[in-house]
């Protein structure tokens, strides 16, 4: 346990969150949802079992009621959370890694490699991602792997553009020049010298990508493009809409899943505020100054906080 805490405190996220209470809460809520769902999964039993009369409102036997097919909504919510968050995490991280590598290679190599890669990136940015994902997912066999693949294909471009800019800015630094003189290969420099310096940007991009992956995945499944026999957030809402939950007034079928989605996304947004403050020191200085002044700033007064003031700012 101690090792884990130490590891967390030294990680990007841990350092970013060290003095941000709201963001710490965000991370805690997200981890609770994610780990809690995986922990409960084996305990609750088969979520797609037909075990009771359909459309029961919440009662003692079925805490969240039953859906239009007589399945237990509580089981479905837990299983859906585990499946959807797991997939979103994998998708978001892969998407960001792909984008980061493409952006770094483009920004660091320059020349024709940069021209080719950045035109591809720019075009991928203007072609609308979700509609393309719909077409791709419709042609591929339905299932979690299709969602993963389709979202990675349509979602990498934004990270690539950001990382190309960052690589352009970093490549003029002295330590890159020294690595070049030592004769390191370009790929090695891009991945082992530049990338570690951009880890907080990576964390911020990854959080954004996971949020995007949650929304897009739920949207695709709601349309009917996922595997409809797999329990997930999107399929829960798909069946809620298909079984006319609205026309029968069965609010308990779609409320829990929606609340989980919003909790997951907004808690991640809170974490991203802290990570963004690392990337953008002016945001951080501003927060510290506000605390220092003890009262919210009326009007933005154009004062740059002094190092002295920041040092004495209450943590």
């Amino acid at each position: 346990m101690k090792v884990w805490i130490k590891l967390y405190k030294h990680s990007i996220i841990g350092r970013a969150l060290s003095d941000q209470t709201a963001s710490q809460w965000g991370l805690a809520v997200w981890l609770l949802l994610f780990l809690g769902a995986w922990f409960l999964m084996p305990l609750i039993g088969d979520p797609s079992e037909f075990l009771a009369e359909p459309l029961q409102s919440p009662n003692l036997h079925h805490w969240f009621g039953t859906n239009g097919q007589g399945q237990d909504v509580w089981r479905q919510t837990v299983a859906g959370t585990a499946a959807s968050l797991g997939l979103a995490l994998a998708t978001g991280l892969t998407m960001t890694s792909l984008g980061a590598v493409i952006g770094l290679v483009a920004g660091y190599s320059g020349g024709w490699i940069d021209r080719v890669l950045s035109s591809i990136t720019n075009i991928a940015l203007v072609i609308p991602g979700l509609p393309l994902a719909i077409v791709l997912a419709a042609f591929l066999p339905s299932g979690p792997w299709t969602l993963f693949l389709v979202l990675v294909i349509t979602g990498w471009a934004w990270t690539a553009r950001v990382f190309r800019g960052l690589a352009l800015a970093t490549r003029r630094k002295d330590f890159i020049a020294s690595a070049e003189i030592m004769g390191e290969s370009r790929l090695r420099i891009a991945l082992l010298e530049i990338l570690p310096n951009l880890s907080s940007s990576f964390a911020s991009a990854a959080i954004g990508a996971v949020i995007y992956a949650i929304g897009a995945q739920v949207g695709l499944e709601f349309l009917g493009l996922g595997d409809m026999n797999r329990v997930s957030w999107g399929t829960n809402l798909y069946w809620a809409s298909n079984d006319a939950a609205l026309l029968t007034g069965s609010w308990w079928i779609f409320i829990p899943t929606g609340l989980c989605i919003a909790l997951a996304c907004s808690s991640l947004t809170l974490v991203s505020y802290a990570v963004d403050a690392v990337n953008n020191p002016s945001l951080r200085a501003d927060q510290l100054l506000r605390r220092r002044l003890r009262e919210p700033m009326r009007r933005a007064i154009g004062v740059t906080p002094l190092a002295k003031e920041l040092r004495h700012a209450p943590a």
């Binding site: 609308p128 809409s241 007034g249």
Partner: protein, 327 residues
């Protein structure tokens, strides 16, 4: 002028690539979806007609370049194929008929959401730590993390099922015939309220936040200090100096966000059975109507590119600095 046309070239390439994707995707996929597309026509069309259609859309055994040539020529003639689920309607005409409803819904809600979000964001940055900054913005961002269509479901449940204030779906009442009368317009407006509100609620927080952050950067600039030292009224400093400059990055965001908003509003349309593109999309997915899906993808791509181009033009007009560089 050079800038306008340079960007047009880029959009031309993007449109061409979108068409290429539409051409390649069915040909790369496992399980020969082409045959699946045409298998759906069996019994609806004579075998000769199917062969003719295959020829026209370039699905033949000819070399890939010849197929591509056939495909491109039929697209250039405005022929996007025949919808399999709404046979014998042409994809182009089906999309065209429902385009108006989507433009009405997505356009109206995007406009309201953007305007309102920009104003609220400017005020949030101006009164840092005020009510808008501390309560309204976080609340709207939380609301914005729900999927669009889920908010739509909640609104339908609350206002149509429990309180019965708004209609449960469709764009106008069943008995009415579309016409240019006041009564019909009011009916359409009544049906538009809930779907529009769900899209506005879902997007408002994002606009506020990006405007607020742009405003904070702008408020730190020297020209704001200058305006303040000149003793201008606060209203003038806020709207004519700060907000006008902070608006620029937000306008770029508008072009970028459009694709996502359009796709989201299509999902909202499904909840309300609104007769726009979303209705077509769900029809296409349920019936595996590939030509219709591809047509919709292409249509949205065109809409997004057009909007981005308009944003570029607006930028040239709004920001004299971008004009200075061209001569």
């Amino acid at each position: 002028m050079g800038k306008i046309f340079g960007r047009l070239g880029f959009y031309g390439v993007a449109i061409f690539l979108a068409l290429c994707l539409n051409f390649i995707i069915p040909r790369l996929m496992p399980g020969d979806p082409m045959s699946m597309i045409f298998a759906r026509f069996q019994g609806q069309m004579s075998p000769d007609a199917i062969v003719a259609l295959r020829q026209e859309m370039g699905f033949t055994d000819a070399p890939i370049l010849v197929q591509f040539y056939h495909y491109m020529t039929s697209i250039l003639h405005g022929n996007f194929g025949v919808s399999t689920s709404l046979y014998p309607a042409q994809v182009g005409s089906v999309i065209w008929q429902s385009l108006g409803w989507t433009l009405l819904l997505a356009g109206a809600s995007l406009l309201i959401s953007f305007t309102l979000g920009t104003i609220l964001g400017a005020l949030a940055a101006w009164n840092r730590g005020g009510v808008i900054d501390r309560w309204v913005t976080p609340a709207l961002i939380f609301v914005g993390s729900f999927p669009y269509f889920w908010l739509a479901m909640l609104l339908v449940y609350t206002f149509s099922y429990v309180f019965e204030i708004f209609p449960i779906g469709h764009a106008y009442s069943d008995g009415l015939k579309p016409s240019w009368t006041l009564g019909f317009a009011l009916d359409v407006l009544h049906h538009l309220c809930l779907p529009a509100v769900s899209i506005i609620l879902a997007t408002l927080g994002g606009w506020i936040l990006s405007m607020r952050n742009a405003m904070i950067t702008t408020l730190g600039s020297e020209f704001i200090n200058l305006a303040q030292s000149k003793g201008l009224t606060q209203r003038v400093v806020l709207f004519r100096y700060a907000a006008r400059n902070a608006l620029l990055p937000n306008i770029t965001g508008l072009g970028m966000a459009l694709g996502y908003v359009l796709a989201g509003s299509m999902l909202t349309e499904i909840v309300f059975s609104y007769p726009g593109q979303g209705f077509l999309l769900v029809q296409a997915v349920r019936n595996q109507d590939y030509p219709l899906m591809q047509g919709l993808f292409f249509c949205i791509t065109i809409a997004v590119l057009l909007a981005n181009w308009l944003v570029d033009l607006a930028y040239l007009w709004l920001d004299p600095r971008t004009r200075g560089a061209q001569t």
